[in-house]
C-alpha cells in the first residue's frame, strides 16, 4: 500500500473495534455483550454468531462496532468484557483494525501465491502490512524487491534446519502477527508452530490425504479426476490436517496432462489462499477444535 492508502486505511478504521468471543452457550450472551457495548456508546455495525448446539454447545460471536474516540473508551470496554467472562470458560479479545496486521510470507521457488498476495495488498484489497518475505531459496528475491519489501534468504538443509528456523524465528519475533506459507516447501517444527498458534496459514492442493505421496498430481491424473482443488488451513502439528479455512476447485478433463493439472492447481491455490488470508486479517476466523468458524 502507498503511504496515502495506509493513511486512508487508518482513517477508515479509526474508531472501529471488533469483539470476538468463544464460550459455552447459554441464554443472555448476546444481550449482555450488546448491552455492554451500548452502555459504552458503541454502535454495532456487524454481528455474527453461531452455536454448535443451543443446549450445551459452544457459542461464537463476532461484533464489529464503531465508537467515537475508541482509544479513550477501549480500556473500559475491555474491563467490562473481562467481568462478563469471569467464571465461565470464555475466550475473548478486542481487535482494532486501524493498525493493520503484520505479515511474513514464506516461499520457496513458486511465485504464484506470493504474487497474488502482494498484488492484492498493493491494491488495498488485502488490508495487511507485509513486513518481509522469507525463503529457503534466492529465486524470488528480484520479484519481491520490486514491491519494496525485505527478502530474507535463509537456506535450509537437513543439517541446518534447526539453525535456519532459529534465524527465521529471530526475524519474526515481535515483528509479525501472521505467517503465511505461500508454497513454502519445508516442514515447520513444533517449536515454530508454538510461536504462532492458529496464526500460520498454509495452502496446498486439495487431494491430501486422497492422493498422498510425492506426486499427488500424477496420482490424480492416473485416476482420471475431474476436479482440481486447493485447501487453505491453519498449520498444526499433524501435517496438512489442521483446521480448514477455505477450499475451492476448478474442473478439468482427460485432456489435461499432469503439467496442466499443476497449472490449474496454481490458479486455485492463489485464489483460495488470498481469501483465507483476507478473512484472517479481518478477524473473521475463529478456530474451534479442528474446525473453523468463518464469519465471512
Amino acid at each position: 500500500m502507498t503511504p496515502a492508502a495506509v493513511a486512508a486505511h487508518a482513517e477508515r478504521y479509526r474508531d472501529v473495534g471488533r469483539v470476538l468471543v468463544t464460550c459455552p452457550d447459554r441464554p443472555g450472551i448476546v444481550a449482555a455483550i450488546s448491552g455492554l457495548l451500548f452502555r459504552h456508546g458503541a454502535n454495532i455495525t456487524e454481528l455474527q454468531q453461531y452455536s454448535t448446539d443451543p443446549f450445551g454447545g459452544t457459542f461464537f460471536l463476532r461484533i464489529e462496532f464503531h465508537r467515537e474516540d475508541l482509544a479513550g473508551e477501549l480500556p473500559a470496554i475491555e474491563e467490562g468484557l473481562a467481568r462478563l467472562a469471569a467464571g465461565a470458560a470464555t475466550r475473548w479479545r478486542v481487535a482494532t483494525p486501524a493498525v493493520r496486521q503484520r505479515v511474513a510470507i514464506f516461499v520457496s521457488k513458486a511465485d504464484h501465491a506470493l504474487q497474488e498476495l502482494l498484488w492484492r495488498t498493493h491494491s488495498g484489497e488485502l488490508e495487511m502490512d507485509v513486513r518481509m518475505v522469507v525463503s529457503n531459496h534466492p529465486d524470488l528475491g528480484d520479484a519481491v524487491a520490486g514491491w519494496g519489501i525485505p527478502y530474507h534468504h535463509i537456506p535450509v538443509t537437513t543439517e541446518t534446519r534447526d539453525e535456519a528456523e532459529r534465524r527465521a524465528l529471530a526475524l519474526l519475533a515481535g515483528q509479525v502477527d501472521l505467517v503465511v506459507l505461500a508454497r513454502y516447501m519445508q516442514v515447520l517444527t513444533p517449536r515454530f508452530l508454538a510461536a504462532f498458534p492458529d496464526r500460520i496459514i498454509n495452502i496446498h492442493h486439495s487431494f491430501l490425504p486422497a492422493f498422498v505421496g510425492a506426486d499427488p498430481y500424477s496420482a490424480a491424473a492416473r485416476r482420471g479426476v475431474k476436479l482440481i482443488g486447493a485447501t487453505a488451513h491453519y498449520v498444526t502439528a499433524e501435517l496438512d490436517a489442521g483446521p480448514i479455512i477455505e477450499q475451492d476447485i476448478e474442473r478439468v478433463d482427460h485432456r489435461h496432462q499432469v503439467a496442466d493439472l499443476r497449472r490449474i492447481g496454481r490458479h486455485v491455490e492463489r485464489a483460495v489462499l488470498a481469501r483465507a488470508v483476507g478473512w484472517h486479517t479481518q478477524d473473521r476466523v475463529i478456530v474451534h477444535s479442528n474446525t473453523t468458524i468463518v464469519f465471512a
Copy 2:
C-alpha cells in the same frame, strides 16, 4: 410429508420463534431486542443482522430463539416488541415455524420446477405445506395426483383472464401464505399481486432483460453465450423486475443448441427456485426497496 414427518416437524419447532425486524439503524437495537428476549426466558439460537449504513441506514435483524412454553409467553414478547418499535419507523413480526407455511404452486405445462418442489417437500427438505397446485392447463394433473395434492385446472384466455383470476383468488383466500409460480406462463394482475405482497415467488431464465422478447434462448444462442442462468424473485408490478432472491448459472458452449440451452435452463431453474422457496419459508428473506436481505 407423511403424517409422521409433520408431527416430527411440529415437535422440532414446538418452542421456536423467529423475530424479524426492519428499522432505521441506531445504537442499541441489538441490545434492546436481545435483552427483551433474555428477560422473557428465551435463548437465541441464531442471529443475523445487517445495516445498509451504520450511520443513518436501514437495519435488518433475524433472530431465531427457543423458549420453553413459547405459546404462553408469546403475547408478552410481542407486546414488548411493539413497545420497542413504538415511535420509530419499525416493521417487525414474530414467526412460529411449528406451523408450516401453506403454499400454492402455480404451473402451466412444464413440470420440472413443480416436481422438484414436491420431491423436496416430500423428503422433508422444504418445510412447507403444499395445499394445492393451480394450473391453466390440465396436463400435470396426473403427476400431482400421485403426491395426493389437489390440482385445480383453471383455464385462462384473454377473455376469461379476469374471471379465472377471481376463481384462483377465491381458492387461495385464507388458505395459503405463499404463492410459487413454478413456470406459470400467465401475467398476474395488480389485484392478485396486492393480495400477496412480497409473497409471490417466480422463477425465470436469467437473461431478462438481457435478451428480451419471445424467445430469449434463441437470442442467447445467437450471441454465443457461455452461461445459462435462472433468477428467483418476488413478483412486483414491473414485470420480471422484482427483488431477486437467488440466482445461479451453468456453463454451456457452442455445441449446445437452443434445445440444450432450454434443458440446462430447466435444471438451473429448479435448483434456484427450490433454494429461494426454502429461504422464504424459513423466514430468511426480508424485502427492502427492490432488493432482498437473505439471511441464508
Copy 3:
C-alpha cells in the same frame, strides 16, 4: 418415456451410428477411418479424438455419423473397420443409438439418486430404457411402481449374499446393458463385476479416500470442510477406486451440521450420477487403464 417418446427417439436416431476406437497412436488413423466412412456414404456429424501422446501414446476416437439406410450398410462398415484394425492393438465398436441401452438401477433405501434418474428418463433427457429396479430393501417399491417399472426386492444378509447375487445376475442376464448403483449399499463380488466390465456405475461422496470409515460426513465436519462433493465412477475390484467419470461439489460452511452435509451431498450425488449415466448411454465414455476419456 411414453410410447410416443420412444418412437420419436427411434426415428431421431434411425440412421445414426457411433464408432469408438482405442489404439496405439500413429499417423493416418483419422484419415483411414473418416475415409472409410466417406466411401460408405456416411456423413460425420460429431468427431472427437484424443491422444495421450502423439508419439507412442494411445489414441481414442469417437465418431457419430449419419448414413441413409444404415442397417443395410452396417455390416460392410464393420467389416472395413475390422480390416483397418487388423494387426494393431485396436479395440473398436459401432453403437447404434436407435435402440436405447437397457438399464438396471440398484438401490437400497435412499431415493434421491433413483428419482433423479427416473425423472430424467421420463422427461427424455436420459435416453435409456430402465428395465428394472433391484433393491435389498422393500422401501422404494411404491415410488417405483408409480413409474411403471418392475421392482425386485432381493434381501441380502451375510449368509444369503451369494444366493442373492445369483438371483440378481439371473434377472439381469441378457436383459440389461448397464447397471447403475444409485446408492446401493452392498459390495458386489468379482463374479458380478466380471459380468458387466466397465458397465457398472456407482456414485458416492467425494471424500473417499480422504475421509474413510463408517461416517465420512462426520469426519468431514470435524475437519471443517468447505466443500461437499460426489464422484461417479466405474466399479472395479478395488473398492471405490475405479475410473472416475464425473465429479462435482457444493460449498458449505460452519453452520452446516452433519445432517446438512448429508442433504447437500444428496443433491450433488444425483446431479453427478445423472451426468455420468447420460454420457455413458450416449457412448461418450471410454475407459483407459484406471481413467476415463469423456467426450462430453
Copy 4:
C-alpha cells in the same frame, strides 16, 4: 518470457501446425483434410470439429498436427488445402505457433486485467509476445516498465480522438496480431475495428445490456443481484454486442456494497479475459456470425 523461455517455446512448437477451416457441411470433409495431411507426412495430434447442422449447416474444424521439417512442407500443404477449398465457400488458414502472436494491450487506469495478462505471459502460461501497452493515461507506466515492455501514453479527448487513434494505429501497423482491451475506457471507431477484424478482444462486466447506463454496478445492487459476472468478446461495430468468447461469475449477497461488487467484478474480469486471450492465441476460437466456436 525470458529469452530461455522464448527459445523453449520455439523448440516445443518447431514442427507444429494448425489448420482452421470453416465451410458448408457435407460428407467427406474430415476424410479429405486428414487424408491430405497424412499424405504430406503429418501426424494429427488434436482434432476438433463442429457442425451447426449436418444437413446444410456450417462446419468448423481445427486440427493441430506435427510434421518433421514443417517449414519445408508447409507450401505443399497449403497448396493442397487451397485446392480442396476451391469452389466451395470455404475459409481456411494454417497457423504456425512457433512464432508467438504479437499483442498490444490497451488500458486506461485500472491495472487488474493488465497485471494478470503480464503475469501469465511471464509465467509462460499465455504463449504470446506482448509488444506494447497503450494507454490514454500515464498512470500505469511505472508498473509496465517493471516488465520491460514499451508503454505508449496517447491522451484522448473529444477533440483529439481522431488524431489519437491515428497515432495508435501507426504504432500497431505491422507490429501486432491481436489487440486486447484490458479495461480501456474509450470507444474505438469503425476505422480501428476494420484494421483488426475479429482480432480485438474486450472485457466488461456481464450485465450489459441487463443494466445499461453509466453505473451498472449500482443498478445491479439496487436490484439485489446475487451474481457478478464478466464477459470477454470480440469487438464489433455494435457496442458491447460482439461474439462472446468466455463468461464467468462469482456469487455475491446483500452485504456486498457497490464497492465490493466492483472489486469482485475485477477478479472475474481478469480470469475471464485471460482465458479468452489464451484460447485466441492458441487459435482455438472461430468467429461465426455473431457467435464463437471455442475449441477449448
